[in-house]
């Protein structure tokens, strides 16, 4: 098993790491003080779906609206100037967090839109190529016989858009399969990704299995065959240090709301040369250079991909989230979650009738842990946990084919973040035990 360079490793653990002070952190998250159901304290174990937001982020968003709200990149007044500064400063901060330059970071609505932006570059490029071959970079024109490669552990957001691209262009969808312990089966990598492959789009860390994939190795193979490499960083960037420029990818997508930021904002980083060659996705105001009645020319990236009035407050909020995470240190965040993951795996492994879906060893693995309980449907497990104030996710987690691969209709998933500690895991484990008792299994 090859580990990615950014995965937390046991060897690097003790030196220079600061423990995450959960009690202090929890005071920053107002929602964690509330109770649910029958006055139970909230135990939030659903951060892989969306994280909670600290006061600092809420305040930054609110302060933006209170002090300098205006339409960005237009208007000659002071507020417009300040709003534009806030927006572009947010871009600089967020780009810096992932080792990138601000010019290479596009803001979208969420990761799903970022991935669609990329997928549409291919279907739009292919459609345009029919009428005006010279106007399109040939890398974005697909033909029957071409292939697109994903994995069997993709979130629907990195699967369905590629199915659509295939349906529109005649390209074929291929995927890297999984081993029984929830890792990518890389044995046949060189045959899955071959000279026909034009796009390789893979998840960095699975939201269902928790697996951290060796993206660099796969991106190297993509590069070798001249394919565009895309990484879904939704679950990795919030939880560990990631330098997007070091993955060997051309494009990386993720969301703000899973990393302490607000909803309504997603990110797409791209190598500048690739972004600049990509046909636009959503068109209209703000993304143009010049407009005539019969045609237009487009602004360079990232503007080209930001049509319409952008999500300024959300960008400001996400930048504040990044400052919060930076102050903790992403190495420390990763180490904290690594410990929690190890603890949770151990406790679940100890339980009778519980089967973990995904890697059971705490190596190259994130904190999303899926499991099934023999004789109890995940929906019923989730209901019992909810009754104890424990918020987990149940279902197929937008990765239905992954569930099918493991022959389960759904799973229960717990996922942690900086505000969780081992007592949260204990409450969840007790809840599962209570469900087993109640259902007599």
């Amino acid at each position: 098993m090859t580990q990615t360079s950014v995965a937390p490793t046991e060897a690097s653990a003790p030196d220079g790491l600061r423990p995450v002070d959960v009690a202090r952190i929890r005071r920053d998250f107002p929602i964690l003080a509330r109770t649910v159901r029958n006055d139970r304290p909230l135990v939030y174990l659903d951060s892989a779906a969306t994280s909670q937001k600290p006061e600092q982020v809420l305040e930054a968003e609110s302060a933006y609206y209170r002090r300098c709200n205006a339409a960005v990149h237009r208007g000659a007044h002071q507020l417009a100037e300040e709003a534009t500064d806030a927006y572009e400063e947010a871009r600089r901060v967020i780009a810096g967090f992932v080792g990138a330059s601000a010019d290479d970071l596009v803001f979208t609505k969420n990761a799903t839109e970022s991935l669609n932006l990329v997928a549409y570059a291919f279907s739009n490029g292919t459609a345009k190529g029919v009428h005006a071959p010279d106007a399109v970079d040939p890398r974005f024109v697909l033909n029957p016989g071409d292939s697109i490669v994903v994995t069997q552990m993709e979130h629907h957001a990195n699967l369905v858009p590629w199915q659509e691209v295939c349906a529109k262009t005649g390209a074929t969808l291929r995927w890297i399969g999984l081993t029984d312990d929830g890792r990518l089966d890389l044995d046949g990598l060189d045959t899955v990704i071959d000279s026909t492959t034009r796009v390789v789009s893979i998840v960095h860390q699975s939201n269902l299995l928790g697996t951290i994939n060796p993206v660099s190795e796969i991106m190297r193979r993509a590069q070798a065959v001249g394919a565009i490499g895309v990484v879904d960083g939704c679950q990795s960037i919030p939880h560990m240090p990631v330098d997007v420029t070091a993955l060997g990818a051309d494009l990386v997508a993720w969301s703000g709301h899973k990393m302490l930021g607000p909803t309504g904002i997603g990110m797409l980083w791209g190598r500048h040369e690739v972004l600049d060659a990509m046909p636009p996705f959503i068109t209209g105001g703000s993304m143009i250079e010049t407009v005539f009645m019969d045609h237009s020319t487009y602004a360079p990236a990232p503007k080209r991909f930001e049509a319409g009035t952008p999500m300024v407050a959300q960008a400001v909020g996400t930048a504040e989230a990044v400052r919060y995470l930076d102050a903790l240190g992403m190495q420390n965040v990763a180490a904290h979650e690594h410990l929690l993951t190890g603890y949770a795996l151990e406790r679940l492994e100890d339980m009778r009738g519980v089967r973990i879906i995904g890697p059971r060893d705490n190596v190259a693995r994130g904190s999303a842990i899926s499991f099934v309980v023999e004789g109890i449907h995940p929906h019923d497990v989730g209901q019992f946990l909810d009754d104890r104030g424990v918020a987990v996710r149940v279902g197929h987690h937008c990765a239905w084919p992954t569930c099918r691969r493991f022959d389960v209709p759904a799973t229960t998933r717990l996922s942690t973040y900086i505000y969780n500690d081992t007592t949260d895991i204990d409450v969840a484990v007790e809840g599962v035990r209570a469900a087993q008792e109640f259902f007599g299994v």
Binding site: H379, D380, Q383, D387
Partner: protein, 154 residues
């Protein structure tokens, strides 16, 4: 309201010992319904016998609520006149949309009254309704016409 009171004995019993589960020999139509948020699935088949009474078969996999609901439904509507079945369906629908405030009529709903607590959990209502939606859809496909309170639905 706690979770144990949602999982009534009747529900657990139907979940563990489903009644009338299985396919019909010759179905007039069937409907496959899924709950896309959690993957619960149920297929309901319908036919009518010589005197126009309903015959129902079903298969499915999913949570206790969806599967118990299918069992209760099959047991209740099997052999009924389609109009009588439709009355039960309408009453069950109303119960599920009551947010848990309704006094269900056991004379109409039978074991279905056990689902009253489910109506307090919005995420589970869809589970309970899944087989009933499949029944309605299968009846429409089979051309079974039902008249309730002067309205005609086909």
């Amino acid at each position: 309201m706690n979770v144990e009171s949602m999982y009534q004995e009747i529900i657990l019993d139907h979940y563990k010992n489903p009644r009338g589960k299985g396919r019909l020999d010759s179905a007039a139509a069937e409907s496959h319904q899924v709950n896309p948020t959690c993957g619960d699935e149920v297929t309901v088949q319908v036919a009518t016998d010589d005197s126009g009474r309903l015959r129902v078969g079903y298969e499915g996999q999913g949570c206790s609520i969806s599967q118990a609901s299918a069992s209760v439904m099959a047991e209740m509507v099997e052999g009924l006149d389609p109009k009588a079945a439709e009355e039960i369906r309408a009453a069950f629908l109303e119960l599920m949309h009551s947010r848990g405030d309704a006094e269900p009529d056991e004379d109409i709903l039978g074991d279905g009254v056990a689902f009253a607590g489910v109506a307090k959990y919005p995420a589970r209502i869809k589970c309970a309704l899944l087989p009933w939606m499949a029944l309605q859809d299968a009846e429409v496909k089979a051309g079974i016409t039902v008249t309730v309170e002067g309205e005609t639905r086909s």
